[in-house]
């Protein structure tokens, strides 16, 4: 079962849940952080809203905002797709990175936006994640990364694959420096992103029912993977098999992250 991603607007005051299709008051829905008040379905969030609901108000300073994707392979339609994504999201690429405060504690953060080419990781996303982790390592402060991605960006070919190595190397740097790194898996967190920096965080949290997996449905189909267990590749499944720490409701994320950052950064120096 594939969960719907976007709520549908039905007039100014109402919105329809993408999962249970119930009509909700828009204001109530938004106050509930885009989580359905009936079925608890967590709708996907854009990067700006994610930052707004997670970190201390007006503490976010965006960095690396001048990084832009180029088309190194001259891949068919890539430039057009980039331009469309920019128009659609108002972002330069799939990741927003910078510094913010969480209950007054300074943190280095990166937030992925699925609406920008499926949150895919090309050279820019890889560079931003790497810088985010390096800033955390250099200042020995926590790094928090909100993941949502279909995987590596095919349009940058092998350059994208190498971002898996590059970002993972930066995690090694955080570990060596003693900077805590927390990843939050949101719907969906897949393939090349899951199989690199995302899966080697010190602590992994996930939003309920998020799709989390190595092989996408179309790849699985090609590989003739047919029978799958119930709830396969959901956050709950991934938690059950021991691959993440906690499935956390969106309204509890800020508190959980804050608590983790305090404790993990509070060791003996």
């Amino acid at each position: 079962m594939r969960l719907g991603a976007k709520p549908r607007a039905t007039g100014d005051a109402f919105i329809q849940c993408a999962h249970c299709r119930k009509t909700l008051f828009r204001r109530e829905f938004e106050q509930n952080l885009d989580v359905c008040t009936h079925c608890n379905h967590h709708h996907r969030l854009g990067a700006a809203k994610r930052i707004e609901i997670t970190f201390d108000p007006e503490t976010f300073i965006e960095l690396d905002q001048d990084l832009r994707s180029v088309d190194p392979l001259l891949f068919p339609d890539y430039r057009q797709k980039l331009a469309d994504a920019e128009t659609k999201t108002g972002m330069n690429d799939s990741i927003v990175s910078g510094m913010a405060k969480l209950n007054d504690q300074e943190v280095s953060i990166a937030v992925s936006n699925f609406a920008f080419m499926g949150g895919s990781m090309g050279s820019v996303a890889g560079e931003k994640i790497t810088r985010t982790l390096e800033r955390a390592a250099d200042s020995r402060i926590p790094a928090i990364v909100f993941c949502t991605s279909g995987g590596a960006r095919m349009q940058e070919g092998l350059l994208s694959l190498m971002q898996m190595a590059k970002t993972t190397a930066a995690v090694e740097r955080c570990r060596a420096a003693g900077a805590p790194y927390i990843a939050v898996f949101t719907d969906p967190t897949m393939a090349g992103v899951l199989a690199s920096y995302a899966s080697v965080a010190d602590v992994i949290l996930a939003e309920p029912k998020s799709l989390i997996g190595f092989a996408g449905a179309r790849v699985s189909k090609q590989a003739q993977v047919t029978k799958v267990p119930d709830g396969f590749q959901t956050a709950e499944f991934v938690a059950k098999v021991g691959m993440l720490d906690r499935v956390v409701h969106r309204r509890d994320l800020r508190r959980t992250l804050s608590s983790l950052c305090r404790m993990l950064a509070g060791g003996r120096k």
């Binding site: 891949f75 092998l158 994208s160 590059k166």
Partner: protein, 331 residues
């Protein structure tokens, strides 16, 4: 219409080689006076074969590289290990769950120098292919690799990895035991190593499954090997919903050794014998051995810290993007 397999693509050449072999076998049985005539014919066939190889192999397109990289008779990791190292002792098990046959590894001797070898292993016949799971490793394979990398680090053994996998195993089992975590942890482990690491892509460098054991100080690639973020058929399936558009995707993905070198993602292309590694596996092994030895020698003088730092910097620089300074034009 592009060929779908290496066999189909090389068929005229294979047929020529077959006739040549038959002809050679016949010569011994023929009477003396017929031999000269047949020898001339052999020479003519050989000339035609060489010409054919010359034409076919001098302009391999990206899709043809995919076919050759996947060719069944192409030497695999264990073929190279047997040809290159004086001694090799395979070790197995991840000490956590099970044994994986898609990745092999163990200590080996290279010109008297002890090293740790890890590589993907394909199978040659149907049974063997199943046994090797088509070189698609499950989490256990990567966890075994980690075990061997860490052991190498403890004992100061340089690490050599052979990369040849279509992809990591995408099945339910692998997913349930954390294939993503296993790949990521293997990379993480490699970046922490304080010994020299050399990787060589000898066939298919298939996405996460490949980079999982290829975070090296020096990355080599054989002339007809491929290295790609996604198999071309998978790319075509996702982008155009047409897996049969593999040839088009292969061209777009720039998955050849020449492109990888152009984008500074590998250090050196290792030449293959005339007509590909599968035409002369021993000659191919000699070239691989020379490249491995040269690479290790170049890293020999580096301190453990310098090796780690060089590996970090090497991958740190990978990527192509623009960083426009728009600050001034903004106000």
């Amino acid at each position: 219409m592009a060929a779908k397999s290496w066999k189909e693509w090389e068929r005229p050449l294979l047929e020529l080689e077959q006739s040549l072999a038959q002809l050679r076998a016949r010569i011994a049985q023929e009477p003396e006076h017929r031999r000269e005539e047949l020898l001339a014919k052999v020479a003519e066939y050989e000339r035609r074969r060489d010409q054919h190889i010359q034409v076919k192999y001098s302009r391999l397109g990206p899709w043809e590289k995919v076919l050759v990289a996947r060719a069944e008779p192409r030497p695999y990791t264990l073929d190279y290990i047997n040809a290159i190292f004086e001694e090799f002792l395979e070790l197995d098990g991840d000490r956590l769950y099970g044994s994986d046959h898609a990745i092999v590894g163990g200590p080996a001797l290279l010109h008297g120098q002890a090293v740790m070898v890890v590589g993907h292993q394909k199978g040659r016949d149907i049974q063997d292919r199943q046994y090797r799971n088509f070189a698609m490793s499950k989490p256990e394979g990567y966890r075994k690799a980690i075990r061997l990398f860490e052991m190498a680090d403890r004992f100061g053994l340089p690490v050599i990895t052979f990369v040849d996998t279509p992809a990591a195993d995408p099945g339910v089992e692998s997913e349930s035991r954390g294939i993503s975590e296993a790949i990521a942890s293997s990379m993480l482990c490699m970046f922490g190593l304080r010994v020299p690491v050399v990787s060589i892509v000898i066939g298919e460098g298939g996405s996460g499954g490949a980079i999982g054991i290829a975070c090296a100080n020096v990355v080599l690639m054989q002339e007809h090997a491929i290295y790609s973020v996604i198999p071309p058929e998978g790319c075509a399936a996702i982008l155009w919903r047409k897996p049969e558009e593999g040839p088009k995707a292969a061209a777009a993905l720039k998955l050849t050794a020449t492109s990888a070198l152009e984008f500074d993602l590998i250090d050196r292309i290792v030449e293959e014998p005339f007509g590909g590694a599968h035409r002369d596996p021993l000659a191919a092994a000699e070239k691989v051995q020379e490249a491995l030895m040269t690479s290790l020698q170049a890293l020999d003088a580096m301190s453990p810290d310098a090796l780690k730092a060089q590996r970090y910097e090497k991958f740190r620089k990978m990527g192509r993007f623009a960083e426009a300074v728009l600050a001034e034009s903004r106000d």
